[in-house]
């Protein structure tokens, strides 16, 4: 039998960990990436990676707490067996990263140092300065290079994935990719294809994401028949700085290291922030969330900042901005200490804004940051552990057999809102964990695998993409793809981010159709056959428009508030009464409505591609380990809700209508 191969597309943390793990297990890997893998978007992750290790355990933390925080943070929309497994593995993943030489910060005793992050009360985030993603990526990149020299991994850098190759049985047999320099298009036959291609922030024009994060690869798999899940869940990070080309992240670590968010009590106060005395500052997160303070989860911090700015408290008349204060005066922490722990983000701020954040408060803005949604992937639970059956070929498999997705490209781990420092973990976890499942798949791959497939299958796929490319290059028209992209970004940022309104979402879908039509009439300004970036961009723009519709229609149909998806029209009003009996009545009603909302909407959105746009359906979420509960984060006045919920709903099964799901269908096979 010919040697089996696996193609991995994307060389960020997820793709690289999958590559090195498979290589160690003697599977041959072709690694395809649009950029040298060392330049992947994972380098932008700053703050850290979560795990409950021996240090946090000594503070009373457990893996279960980490799991609970992750489920609660995601407002219970994340399937529980995968996240349980992930949190159980987290300490081992950190130990491996440590063995690989990641220069994590150390305690005086030489142990791994920890900091606190959002959405938890424990210090369980391990970090390497404020460039943890970069340092982790480098360690994995080094391992992949090691396997390259041994011939187990072949890297194709500056190659772009154009689509999966699917045979008439509906099984993925490889993919088609294009050399971004010579523009050669060729097939990569494979027995499994793993997409590790990241998020889709560029749909929002400017975001904190890197330039390759168009979501193009996921969109191509989606158009080939893979289901897309929870597209409407998009994380807007509360603290970024603006730029003409990009919004740059200021890590949550800034708040984890005691940074404080505030606005002047007097709206429109024009004094320099250092001139505003303590009693005239409104630390609004600390006041409203006395337990979590500045470390409420991102969706909540972002909404609170938005609300303050809408009420006129913005510290920048041109936009929505608040202060994030790291000065010694606000934090009580010495300059040297913060320089050591946060150097990389202090540098970014200084380079782009020109002031020193340790001298005066930073002005920060919310920015699109992470796609919780992504390609739908399967899992197989292990009833014995509550986690996953690790050798199951179903883990991370998309609805196309043989096509897998990991990392930000999948939807599996973060539910309705991702907790800070869980993304690096979910990427490395899925990348390593997929190894045994892929090997099981390789043993049983139907029809003899790619080697047995007819060469006509590959030839047909290549010629289809050659034709499409030829058409795109030679298309005549007057529309300009770069301008369409700017309009797309503005439209999506306006209507599909922090606050969502059904009327606007409907208009958005109409406007997306118009933009898509205009895209079809857009022409390339470069028709050349060498390093044509214009071609790659314009093609990706078409894909962004497709996924934009998935996001907008998912948002339109989901009539509730959950995590990052916030629709004021469907918000359950918080109890406000002061009279105890009335307060109790209001809280009882709140709980009844929340229970009903979960019954109706605690479901995964599934989008299937059709020529007329996405077709939506829903499948139940696996909440077998931890019953959903109101997600209040101890906001002032919520104690009564929690009390009543405990009395009346704790443990009450949430019968959800089980619609036919691809998971059930796959399991039946």
């Amino acid at each position: 039998m010919a040697k089996q191969r696996v193609v991995i597309v994307g060389g960020g943390l997820a793709g690289l960990s999958a590559a090195m793990k498979l290589a160690e297990d003697e599977v041959s890997v072709d690694l395809i990436s649009m950029v040298p893998v060392k330049r992947s978007h994972s380098v932008c992750a700053q703050g850290g990676i979560n795990c409950c290790n021996k240090f946090t355990r000594s503070q009373g933390d457990t893996e279960w707490n980490h799991f609970d925080d992750t489920a609660y943070g995601g407002e219970f929309l994340n399937n529980q067996p995968p996240i349980k497994e992930m949190c159980d593995w987290a300490p081992k993943i950190i130990d491996l990263a440590d063995r690989l030489g990641v220069p994590f910060n150390r305690s005086p005793e030489g142990n791994l140092a920890v900091r606190r992050f959002g959405g938890t009360l424990y210090k369980r985030t391990i970090y390497a300065g404020a460039s943890t993603g970069q340092q982790l990526l480098y360690a994995l990149d080094e391992q992949v290079r090691r396997w390259e020299t041994e011939g187990r991994i072949t890297t194709y850098e500056f190659w772009e994935f154009l689509g999966p190759i699917i045979d008439d049985q509906g099984v993925c047999r490889g993919c088609v990719a294009q050399d971004m320099f010579s523009l050669e298009i060729r097939a990569f036959p494979a027995d499994a294809v793993i997409l590790a291609t990241g998020g889709c922030g560029l749909i929002f024009g400017k975001s904190t994401m890197s330039m390759v994060c168009t979501g193009g690869a996921s969109a191509r798999a989606y158009q080939a028949g893979a289901n897309y899940a929870n597209g409407e869940f998009v994380q807007v990070h509360p603290t970024a700085i603006p730029g003409a080309d990009k919004l740059r992240l200021i890590s949550e670590a800034a708040r984890g290291e005691a940074g404080r968010v505030w606005v002047p009590r007097k709206p429109g106060d024009t004094r320099h922030p250092n001139q505003i005395p303590e009693p005239e500052r409104l630390y609004f997160l600390e006041e409203k969330y006395p337990t979590y303070k500045n470390l409420v989860p991102r969706d909540i911090a972002t909404r609170e900042i938005f609300a303050m700015c809408r009420a006129g408290y913005s510290v920048d008349p041109a936009t929505y901005a608040v202060y994030l204060d790291l000065t010694e005066r606000a934090t009580g922490i010495k300059r040297e200490v913060l320089e050591h722990k946060l150097g990389a983000i202090l540098e970014i701020y200084e380079k782009f804004v020109g002031t020193d954040p340790l001298d005066e408060p930073m002005k920060i803005f919310p920015a699109v940051h992470y796609s919780m949604g992504g390609l739908w992937v399967d899992f197989e639970a292990d009833p014995k552990t509550g986690g996953l059956r690790l050798d199951s070929p179903r883990n991370q498999q998309t609805s196309i057999p043989g096509l897998y997705a990991i990392g930000e490209a999948d939807y599996q781990y973060h539910g309705a809102n991702r907790l800070g420092a869980n993304s690096l973990l979910s990427c490395i976890f899925a990348g390593l964990m997929i190894g045994p499942g892929i090997r099981s798949w390789l043993k049983t791959v139907p029809g003899g695998g790619a080697a047995a497939a007819a060469s006509s299958l590959f030839e047909a796929a290549v010629s289809k993409h050659k034709d499409a490319t030829h058409q795109l290059v030679n298309r005549a028209g007057t529309e300009n793809p770069y301008l369409i992209h700017r309009e797309l970004g503005a439209l999506m940022t306006r209507n599909c981010t922090v606050v969502r309104v059904n009327a606007d979402l409907k208009t958005t879908l109409g406007e997306l159709d118009v933009l898509h039509e205009r895209w079809r009439r857009s022409a390339l300004s470069d028709k050349g056959q060498w390093t044509n970036q214009n071609l790659s961009f314009t093609r990706a723009l078409g894909d962004m428009l497709i996924v934009a519709k998935v996001i907008a229609s998912g948002a339109l149909d989901r009539d509730e508030c959950r995590g990052a998806h916030y629709k004021p029209e469907f918000e359950i009003p918080a109890p406000t009464a002061t009279e105890p009996d009335e307060l109790k009545r209001q809280a009882t009603e709140w709980c009844a409505r929340y229970f009903e909302q979960n019954r109706k909407w605690l479901k995964t959105t599934l989008a299937r591609h059709t020529a007329s746009g996405p077709q939506l359906s829903y499948e139940p979420v696996d909440v077998s380990l931890l019953p959903p509960r109101p997600r209040t984060y101890g906001v002032r006045g919520a104690d009564i809700i929690e009390k009543i919920w405990k009395q009346q709903y704790a443990g009450k099964p949430m019968a959800s209508a089980g619609e036919a799901s691809p998971r059930a269908a796959l399991a039946a096979n």
Binding site: R39, R99, N111, R145, K246, S525, Q533
Partner: protein, 251 residues
């Protein structure tokens, strides 16, 4: 009317073709950097002479000086385009001048081929030879001061600035360059990495190795990430000497 800014860009259509210059004018916007200028030119690729041309090809990804992709020569200095803020550049000279890096083959326009830097990382075996990715417990304890120095070295983003300014990196030499020496030091300092330090030192001896460094110290000044290159070169140089003597005795 808003202000116009002018850029002169060195262009080159393909690997072997001749470079030529084109000048563009674009509208000034707040918070502009060189990347956003190139994006605006891509959206409307017309020169000041009114000639319709193609978008300029360039390399970038993170746009926040952490991926190392967007290095180019800006107003005569090699640096990242994403952190090159237009308002600061205009204080230096009236027209912004963009050229590709000088020590690497041009692929197209400002896009260069830096694969030799990644090849150098293979040569010095810039990784830790762990036994397995399976679970073997915790990593070795590391002294905080060693962890800090390793962190500084590990911030190298393979951007190539240090190579571009190094007088010893040129057409006539095989010099591996400062970046790879820094990375060899990074791994030799790790408790596990130290076990295979000899292999890295070996790779840095002989032609193209560490003795080719003329100690001009240009590299460390050009490095945007303040990687302690001259420290690494000094340390690794001493280590290779010791290694050579030991090898001589062992033989």
């Amino acid at each position: 009317m808003s202000k116009l800014i002018r850029l002169t860009i060195q262009r080159q259509d393909a690997r072997e073709s001749h470079p030529y210059a084109q000048t563009f004018e674009i509208e000034h916007k707040p918070q502009m950097n060189v990347i956003s200028c190139l994006q605006d030119i891509a959206a409307r690729p017309v020169t000041v002479a009114g000639e319709q041309t193609t978008p300029v090809a360039w390399d970038c990804n993170c746009l926040e000086e952490v991926c190392g992709a967007c290095t180019m020569v800006i107003n005569g200095r090699v640096r990242q385009a994403c952190t090159a803020l237009v308002d600061n550049l205009l204080k230096e000279q009236a027209t912004i001048d963009l050229k590709p890096m000088s020590k690497f083959p041009v692929v197209r326009d400002l896009f260069v081929d830096r694969s030799r830097m990644f090849a150098a990382l293979k040569k010095v075996r810039a990784w830790i030879d762990v036994d397995t990715y399976g679970y073997l417990g915790e990593g070795p304890k590391v002294e905080p001061s060693v962890a800090d120095r390793r962190y500084e070295l590990s911030c190298c983003m393979t951007c190539g600035c240090c190579m571009d300014v190094c007088p010893q990196v040129n057409d006539g030499s095989d010099f591996i360059g400062p970046q790879a020496i820094g990375q060899a030091a990074l791994f030799n300092m790790h408790p596990t990495g130290a076990m295979s330090a000899d292999q890295r030192l070996e790779a840095l001896m002989g032609p193209g190795g560490i003795t080719d460094c003329g100690n001009a110290q240009n590299c460390v000044k050009a490095c945007p990430k303040e990687v302690p290159l001259t420290w690494a070169i000094g340390k690794t140089g001493r280590d290779t000497t010791v290694h050579a003597i030991r090898r001589w005795f062992v033989k």
